[in-house]
Amino acid sequence: MSSGWTTKALAVLAKDIRTELRTRYSLNALFMFAFTTLVVVSFSLGQLSLGVQVLSALYWIIIFFASMSALSGVFVKEEDAKTAQTLRLFARPSVIYAGKLIYNILLLTILCALLTPLYVAFMNVTVPDWPLFLVVILLGIIGLSGATTIIGAIVAKANVRGALFAVLSFPVLLPLLVAAIGGTDAALVGTGWAGAENHIKLLVAYAVIMITASAVLFDFVWNG
């Protein structure tokens, strides 16, 4: 882990941010997908007074499906533009993985920063415990990106990418979704940190395990 490693990982990240800012394709797609889903949900269920459990489940369902539309993009676009080979020459696989992972985390963080206020407004949610709510969302984002970044690299090598990405991600993400929904639930009920303790532990453990497993296995996918 020399300083060269960090510099190069940040260079990969900077390159992805720069190309994204030229078109804003994945951020637009991600946000519009999430926003449309939110509006549909709010439009169809807005008349009903929904319980907290339903609200927290809906929030994560929106995030899950929106992220399925965009998170594989970081690797798919490299394969499509035939730039993957150049990237292989530029740095070690772990460097690429780190850059892409941070990029996905940033992408989802921006999405959630835009979506969460809209969600609170549209679904008429009262949040008694904002710090806990935000911590659960942030941990959820890290786990979600940690597990799906390598799956993005996997589907980039396959033929039918869109559907396959969701199919491959869902079973792996299920523990995360259960914990994130439970934690959000605790934040919306207002049971405080004690009520969400197990969920937060599970979210942290999940993110650590998935990012470690990805870091070990990424070499095989990237050079495979």
Binding site: I150, I151, I154, K157, A158, N159, V160, L164, V167, L168, F170, P171, V172, L174, P175, V178, N198, L202, Y206, I209, M210, A213, S214, L217, F220, V221, G224
Partner: protein, 221 residues
């Protein structure tokens, strides 16, 4: 020749299990006749785990050796495991209807975990179908199978603590690791477990032999 006798032996054992599992008294008096499914359901669930474990072992080996045969073993074991997984899910679901009154419930951790296994290996098999080059197919799918594995402990160890289980925890062994089955139940169960396990390994070997023959023919042509 030896193989022939082993096949006949396996046939006799499984026929014996089928015969005795229906003619002896039901294993569980309260549930009654329906509890006979236990002779088949537990071996199926066990073989699901065995087949997927072998898939994982050969996936790891394949990444080291890059031998096409290891990839085939891994893939074939996943297909067999999926067959056993479907059988275990169906037999478990039928038994759930009889004993708990519902075919399916999400509040039961073992139903959840076997369902997740089905999803993971369904995804694994569709991933294989979507990659055209054989070499890459092996590497990518082996990676996915290893990557998906760490989620399994979440369902086996963590989820059951977060929800109540309806499964009898002491149907095979109790808390002091003594067998809880009496009379004719234990021998029939053990023979069933043994013969279905042999059946799985026979199917595994059969597929591998067939694959080798096809490879040899392909090379001749």
């Amino acid at each position: 020749m030896v193989r022939k006798y082993l096949q006949i032996g396996l046939f006799v054992l499984i026929a014996g299990v089928i015969y005795f599992s229906f003619t002896t008294p039901a294993p569980q008096q309260i549930i009654g006749e329906a509890s006979r499914i236990f002779y088949y359901h537990i071996p199926m669930a066990w073989l699901t785990v065995v087949a997927y474990a072998i898939n994982l072992i050969y996936a790891i080996r394949f990444l080291k050796t890059r031998s096409e045969l290891d990839d085939f073993r891994s893939h074939w074991s996943a297909e067999l495991g999926t067959m056993f997984c479907v059988l275990a899910t169906i037999s478990g679901s039928l038994f759930a209807k009889v004993t708990w009154g519902v075919y399916w419930t999400w509040s039961e951790p073992r139903m959840l975990s076997i369902f997740i296994l089905l999803l993971i290996y369904g995804a694994y098999l569709s991933l294989r179908a979507a990659i055209p080059t054989p070499e890459r197919k092996g590497i990518i799918s082996a990676t996915y199978s290893i990557f998906a594995f760490p989620t399994v402990p979440f369902f086996i160890f963590i989820m059951p603590r977060m929800m109540q289980s309806l499964h009898p925890a002491d149907s095979v062994v109790d808390k002091n690791l003594h067998f809880t089955m009496g009379g004719t139940v234990l021998p029939i169960f053990l023979v069933s477990l043994f013969s279905f396990t042999v059946l799985y390994f026979w199917l595994l070997g059969l597929g591998i032999r067939l694959h080798k023959v096809q490879l040899a023919r392909f090379e001749e042509a």
